[in-house]
Amino acid sequence: MAADIKPRIRVPQTAKKDEIIEIKTLISHPMESGQRKDSQGKIIPRKIINKMTVAFNGKPVFEAKLEPSISANPYLSFFLKCSASGNLDFTWTDDDGSVYKATQAITVA
């Protein structure tokens, strides 16, 4: 299952100092709510991304707690003001304990 889960990020590679940039993220994930039943009437166990965090040079800049009502393939975007070059680290945490990661460098000119 984990092989099907792929994070995608879109971050401008370069930015001007103190420019406000938009960061877009999407992760392919079924977001199984735990409320549905299969054809045998058994409950399909919950499996969602429950947390997403973003850190810039190790310092947290964005955090989201996700709930079961959120659609499959959750898309999140936010704005960030960059004053120095550095790395953005994205982390998604799954109900089953898996952690999916992505990293992108930004050069501030």
Partner: protein
Amino acid sequence: MPRLRSPLLTAAAALAVLGSLAACDGDKSKSAAMADSGDPLAQYRANPKYKAFMAGEKMSGYVFASPETQAMQDDDFENPGMLAVQDGEEEWSKVEGAAGKSCASCHQDAAKSMKGVAVSYPKFEPKRGKLANIEHRINLCRTEHMKAPELKWESKPLLGLTAYVEHQSRGLPISVKVDGPAAPFFEEGKKFYYTRRGQMDIACAQCHEQNPGMNIGVENLSQGQSNGYPTYRLKWQSFGSLHRRFEGCNQEVRAEPYPRGSDEYTNLELYVAWRGNGLKSEAPSVRR
């Protein structure tokens, strides 16, 4: 008494549907547009934004979608259908089967070899003796040339490959041929389109030909064009084929659906594609 009950119920259900078809919703702009011309499609025709999504009187499902759904489709990053295209891109060069080949072994770069291919499907396939759509064609390639087993309908790899192939034709006008050997299948598809079916006793044409732009319950009826398929459907929370959509329509009129990939649906697919000839392919689209 039990004999009387079911026809009564059917009549009541049909009345309920007709009632909602005729009802005008509370949307003021829509009501105003209708008051001017009495035509619920006038508001779409007047909007210059939709020009690229129309061909004469034909309108893509995009036109009938909400602005939020349209925005999702407009941005390739936000469009979850692109995930399926990505899957397909990986499948494209995956070697499978006894012949030790992948799609790329014969067709090389899909961006060149598959450009404009999907818009001409479904078409008559001599090896099948009947129509083939993209899914059938992929499976035919697998069994004939790759010596690999067929992919299951609606499975992730088949949806991915279909999406990938269809995506190469995005922006090109749909142009299916309905003469020659395809003609009898086209006629079958047309018959399907105009045949009333199910407990509701409703044909495709009653919603999508006679009432596009009207509301059915809370839903906005489209012209039922297929140029965006395969599509990421928000209701499904996943990517799906046109035949899965046909199945949904059949269930909504309380009819027994045909299997996905069946001749009935493939003939219908050709007829529906022909109705949209000239509309630009949007694969992968986002629909509600």
